[in-house]
């Protein structure tokens, strides 16, 4: 234990972002952000809270109080697997999963996510592939993610890949929809 590593933990009001909570609460599904009574049901129900740096409850509290940097840079929001356990058990019926989505979007918007973090790489690769082809090929997607995050792992998973390929479960042929133009027009209309 190195006590010289002690860091300042206090937050001064000037370090908080008072607009942050307002931005989040206006997003779809986040309307009830301020109803939270910090009971911790979400943290208890969450199968992944055991691994999070901040439990979902703390993410909510920090969001409300404007600890924007800490929230957007926490990896809790990227660990959320969208299983909705928290949302269905919340006694105030807060859609915590949707709040996590809103925070992920915000982090991407502000470029505050860890670059080589597989979760965000996956999200972006997925996004690109669907925009281009309308569908997604799991084999290609996972290969890309591994290439961009930890290329060495490709060898580790090669055996699994080979097996899947022999079972006809992955292929390098990518499925493409016919009306790609239509889809792109729809998606571009939202930019």
């Amino acid at each position: 234990m190195d006590f010289r590593k002690a860091k300042r933990k206090i937050k001064y009001e000037s370090e908080l972002d008072s607009h942050f909570a307002k931005e989040i609460v206006e997003k779809a599904g986040c309307e009830d952000l301020f109803h939270c009574i910090q009971c911790g049901t979400c943290g208890g129900a969450c199968p992944i809270s055991a691994y999070m740096d901040y439990t979902p409850r703390r993410i909510v509290a920090m969001t409300r109080e404007g600890l924007k940097q800490d929230v957007l840079e926490s990896y809790s929001i990227w660990l959320c697997a969208s299983c909705y356990s928290c949302a269905v058990e919340c006694p105030k019926q807060i859609k915590i999963t949707d709040i996590m989505y809103a925070l992920k979007q915000k982090a991407i918007e502000e470029g505050r996510y860890p670059r080589r973090f597989p979760v965000t790489v996956l999200a972006r690769e997925f996004f690109k592939s669907v925009f281009a082809k309308g569908r997604n090929n799991e084999g290609i997607l996972m290969t890309k993610v591994l290439l961009k995050t930890n290329p060495l792992k490709i060898f580790k998973q090669a055996l699994l890949g080979l097996k899947l390929w022999r079972q006809g479960r992955i292929g390098l042929h990518s499925d493409v929809i016919q009306n790609r133009d239509e889809l792109r027009k729809i998606l571009s209309a939202l930019d």
């Binding site: 997003k27 992944i48 979760v119 997925f126 239509e182």
Partner: protein, 292 residues
């Protein structure tokens, strides 16, 4: 009975066995299933994390296609076998119809592609169709080889009953159990039946994702199951494909057959293995031999 069918990307890839067995089972029950032409990716979890509106728009295009298709018997029932597709399509449906500002944006976006959607499609899971439209009695009559001795851990995963429990209980779903009973199988009391399998985390943060699926299989073994039935291609993949890697990772054996519930139904219906995609499984159900 005729339904529209939305496969989603996985049922054309890693989850091909699910598609094959589901179609075979529906055929055995004289149910017509027609694939939605030119469907696109549903939007899924990963997309939603980047841009929620676009995720809804992706889903909306599929819903609009479905609505356009089935003009003679509205409202159209659209089967979405993948849990994630099922959730995303349902969620999009809700937000588009219930949230005015999202609804308006999506309608404008669809219009840019010369499409419209009035909100009339019912997105349904095959479990729901089998149990409520076809019924246990009809299924019982189709059983040729009752699955005696099979002790199934029914795994629903998260996104069928959460957050929208429309056809089963949110905390203790039983629809799959009822189907298994109809086939002559037993089911085990397994409190993890809706616990998260780790989803895409198995591919991104392995340590975490693998542990989540590992403990599911481990507990299914403890509860005396000899097979896990799944209803989602991603859950299936997570529970099935990494079993070998767990041995080195956890120095603990968690070896168990994992099959789609439709494959198990097909076995009981006496459908040939090939049509059920059995050869695409890593751990072939040990009972195939015993039953057939």
């Amino acid at each position: 009975m005729r339904y529209l069918y939305y496969p989603g990307c996985s049922l054309k890839g890693t989850g091909r066995a699910y598609e094959e067995s589901m179609l075979a089972v529906f055929q055995a029950l004289d149910v017509l299933v027609e694939e939605l032409p030119d469907w696109n990716c549903c939007g899924a979890t990963a997309y939603m994390a980047v841009d929620e509106l676009k995720a809804f728009a992706l889903a909306a295009r599929n819903l609009a296609l479905a609505e356009r298709m089935d003009t003679d018997t509205p409202p159209a029932d659209l089967i979405a076998p993948c849990n994630a597709c099922y959730l995303v399509l349902n969620k999009a449906q809700r937000y588009i119809t219930e949230n005015e500002s999202i609804g308006n944006k999506i309608h404008t976006a669809l219009a840019a592609g010369d499409m419209t959607y009035s909100g009339g499609v019912h997105v349904r899971h095959p479990l729901d169709i089998l149990l409520h439209d076809i019924g246990v009695e009809r299924i019982k009559t189709a059983v040729k080889k009752p699955l005696e001795g099979m002790r199934v851990a029914c795994y629903y995963g998260c996104q069928i009953v959460r957050p929208y429990a429309t056809f089963d209980d949110q905390y203790n779903p039983t629809s799959m159990n009822q189907l298994m009973w109809a086939l002559g199988a037993e089911t085990v009391d397994w409190p993890l039946k809706t616990r998260c399998c780790g989803g895409s985390l198995t591919g991104t943060i392995e340590e975490l994702g693998h542990r989540l699926s590992f403990i599911l299989v481990k507990e299914a073994i403890n509860r005396g199951a000899n097979i896990i039935a799944t209803s989602c291609p991603l859950c299936h993949f997570n529970l099935e494909c990494y079993q070998k890697q767990w041995q080195t990772r956890y120095h603990d054996d968690a070896h168990m057959a994992v099959a789609y519930f439709t494959q198990i139904m097909g076995m009981a219906f006496g459908i040939e293995e090939k049509r059920l995609g059995m050869r695409r499984l890593f751990v072939p159900p040990a009972y195939i031999a015993a039953v057939s």
